[in-house]
Symmetry: C2
Subunit: 259 residues, 2 copies
DNA sequence: CGGTTCGTTGAGGCCCATCAATCTATGTGG
DNA sequence: CCACATAGATTGATGGGCCTCAACGAACCG
């Protein structure tokens, strides 16, 4: 569904067809080859999940980490009166619920957006791996820190940017995270319902619709059957105030990973 | 300025007057006594900082972790046109910039709010400690995960709650984080300027002012010289939709910490 | 005591929510 | 293959929550 990531940075490849290559854990560059194998072995068989299925519900016990290997999912939180906010969009390669590593209860839910392939990792096994393999430990904490950085930027968007800027910022972010071309034009899948986009941006679906039109009419984007193409990267980033560094796509010392 | 935290949960005390006891790293319960000493030794001498001083500016190199041992500080981010959003408020015991552990550049700034006492930890020393001491590693990643959870809740507030609910939620959160009494009334220092509160909540200072009055007139809070008291916890939590579990004040296995 | 920061209050307006209707696309069963 | 159902996109009208601008009061401080 979502193509595998060719990846802008050439990561030392190991087993090219392993289920977890392409994962952010891998791309972090912290895993030795041995650790990669150990992790592959610890993980559950791949599971295919239909759209709009909860992997975890808000407040559920959390004895399993989920890794999204294909498709889209999201974390979601809700207020008592049913309003929904997505703290994170999860694309191929993302770990859905890092907290499950150390918490026994999640205060958010995880739900698929598209058809998705999911791999599970039991909490106790993950903890054991983290204790025994420094590279795995580092990869996990690195992921946590990156998520933190992304969330901070989302807060800035939701708290201080206009609806148009917010939407533009999200599209710029996804363009980079999905590894779409960074020059001139860039196309990437965007399977979100306008309602889901609104839940990510703190807006209503109606207003997302109007802002999308705004961007379309201005010739900044085009969109057709769940695919968005940014026609003018420079202008979009200008509107959004987007600077991709916060995504930490290239970790500080990916090249320095132990052999 | 801000009192030391007696702490609602009885943590196994070690050196009672050590500079880092009272810190969330300590309270995490993951540090063995030896690790506590090692950490104490690795840390810079205490530094007193005046209000409104940047410890790190946005985009600065980040070779130092800062731990707030007394007073208040905040992380801040800004848009190109100067709007400010605080992704986090930092009170006594918080680590200001966990990311400095693995990133070489921060995409947010850290600034004091009140007079504060700060302790610094060099990145390379921190990394060495994390590599050698599993308890220290676990404490750091646990802290990162908790910060994640708090940020998610803030996003929900900013994205989906009304101004009144947002403010109420923040006050409820601070009441718990500061260890104020949880029954009936609870008083705690609130040194934020209304403008700073607005920057935390995604509001203007004017509107924060109006919402504070709203809460005051309804008899829900009282505030005088930088001190807030919540008069009716139950009703405040009701308004805010506040459930303290996301703060993870008591870590899952604090009691299980190695001796 | 003058300056500066912060809190308070008012008037006016805009951005986005709300409500509601229509249109389109996709799928389903007969 | 069509009738129908359903989910999602689109459009319009209306209103309100919060912002903006501006002025004034209050507290703090050298």
């Amino acid at each position: 569904m979502i193509g595998t990531h060719p990846g802008p940075l050439p990561v030392a490849r190991t087993a090219p067809h392993s289920i977890l290559s392409g994962t952010r854990l891998w791309k972090s560059g912290f895993l030795s080859r041995g650790e990669q194998h150990v992790l592959e072995d610890a993980v559950s068989p791949v599971r295919l999940v239909a759209p709009n299925i909860d992997l975890v519900r808000e407040g559920d016990r959390a004895d399993t980490l989920f890794i999204v290997t294909d498709g889209w999912a999201c974390r979601y939180t809700t207020t008592r009166d049913g309003a929904r906010q997505l703290p994170a969009l999860l694309v191929a390669g993302d770990v859905a619920n890092l907290d499950a590593l150390m918490f026994d209860r999640l205060d958010y839910g995880v739900r698929t957006i598209t058809h998705a392939t999911i791999v599970a990792l039991q909490q106790d096994r993950a903890l054991a791996l983290v204790a025994q393999h420094p590279g795995i430990a580092r990869a996990f904490t690195w992921l946590g820190l990156v998520e933190n950085a992304i969330q901070s930027k989302w807060m800035l968007s939701i708290g201080r940017r206009s609806a148009l800027e917010r939407l533009a910022h999200l599209l710029c972010e996804l363009s980079v995270r999905l590894g779409a071309a960074n020059d001139g034009e860039s196309s990437f899948p965007f399977p979100l319902t306008q309602e889901q986009a609104g839940d990510a941006l703190g807006l209503t679906s109606v207003h997302v619709n109007r802002m999308m039109q705004h961007l379309r009419i201005r010739g900044l984007i085009a969109s057709a059957n769940r695919l968005v193409t940014i026609r003018d990267q420079a202008k979009m980033r200008q509107i959004a105030g987007f600077d991709p560094r916060y995504l930490h796509i290239a970790p500080r010392d990916a090249q320095l990973a132990p052999p």
